[in-house]
Point group: C2
Chain length 204, copies 2
DNA sequence: AAAAAAACCGACCAAGTGGTCGGTAAGAAA
DNA sequence: TTTCTTACCGACCACTTGGTCGGTTTTTTT
């Protein structure tokens, strides 16, 4: 933690409100004034703390978005025993949280990835890094699952991780369109079906 | 086809260029002037043909995007025999096309869904409609596949359709980040694995 | 309490934004 | 050829955008 308390407090408030609005309205569709109005702060305050809108957003990615993804999707999986049970629980929990969020606009990471893909390489890079950590994390637990006898040895951990991430990104996108309860239920059923097809069969 | 040839030609040119830029840069990040500059046309021409930017975009959805999704994802599946083979081929073809597209910015439908979700209900509605047709289409072929003995009877067609769409949306998003060849290969392997687990077993 | 540094204010700027409107080419109808 | 309609032009408008800067308040240091 930095010592500079007031500074950090104001910056943090701006970042929190910034993420809220960027998430809700999109980056390009949200102006700095929108954020400042919400906080009753001035342009001067903003540009005292941040160099530009882009710099501001990157700080949000590194401070808030990273943390969100970690606590929701990465930490719940790290170092656990049974990969499939763990992934099942983690995804279920993530979907349930989204489902009960009245103001759900989708998966933070993929929303911004969609908005910046091919348009802002700098920001894309930071977002991509987060997704990579997630992927590595999944691959790790799957590999460990093989040696621990949970996961069939012939499966391709990287491929499974890719498929899991893909399906998660997609379902979160669909859920925003409404009917999220039904969708997440259907999704979890199929996910279980998919995972079940990869458990290590008992040696007879 | 409308008779008004010149009218239709100009409108069409605007729509094509519009979709190109909206797809590449995003809707909110693309100005009407951007499009007009590309075509050496004036504001007057634009507002002679379209009422507003939103009206313009909706016409693009209804004319171009619908058609793109249909020809790539819906028609190749309609009325075919073996559902899993058909879906496999269709997805593989779609991914391959994307993979070889140097200027790939992701899945048109889901990109715009992400951009407008919760921000423009009008436009979201039209996009949602397309996705619904796709879903119904998948469910239909799966159900037919049951009676034809291709698909295990116990599976939930709606659930499978949702899962397929989710994973497709997700993988297309990931592919933009690069390494698309490897990603689409991994994806297809897992898709096949998933589909294979649902084939109707031979009655002994 | 005085001085210095940190935090914040808000008027201002140039460069856009979506959209309007009176006018003008060009092709079809008379 | 004249008339009329369709298609298009581009200056203009009100408003918003990201960003600057000289100045003021608040906090910390001395």
């Amino acid at each position: 933690m930095d010592k500079n308390l007031k500074r950090m407090a104001t910056m943090h408030r701006m970042q929190v409100t910034g993420l809220e609005l960027f998430y809700k309205q999109g980056y390009y569709n949200t102006s700095i004034d929108d954020i400042l109005k919400e906080l009753s702060l001035s342009k001067g305050a903003f540009y005292y703390h941040f160099q530009s809108k882009e710099d501001f957003f990157i700080s949000i990615v590194q401070n808030l978005i990273v943390q969100k993804v970690y606590s929701m999707l990465i930490e719940p999986i790290e170092g656990k025993e049974d990969p499939f049970r763990t992934i099942d629980k983690c995804f279920e929990n993530a979907l349930e949280t989204a489902e009960h969020n009245e103001y759900d606009y989708g998966f933070v990471l993929s929303n911004f990835m969609a908005e910046f893909n091919g348009r802002n390489e700098e920001i894309s890079k930071y977002l991509r890094d987060i997704y990579r950590v997630w992927e590595v994390n999944l691959v790790t637990i799957l590999q460990k699952g093989k040696t621990d006898g949970f996961v069939a040895r012939h499966i391709d951990s990287e491929g499974v991780a890719t498929y899991l991430i893909s399906s998660f990104i997609g379902i979160r996108m669909l859920m925003v369109e409404g009917n999220s309860k039904m969708l997440s239920y259907q999704f979890m059923q199929q996910l279980r079906h998919y995972l079940a097809s990869m458990v290590q069969q008992e040696l007879v």
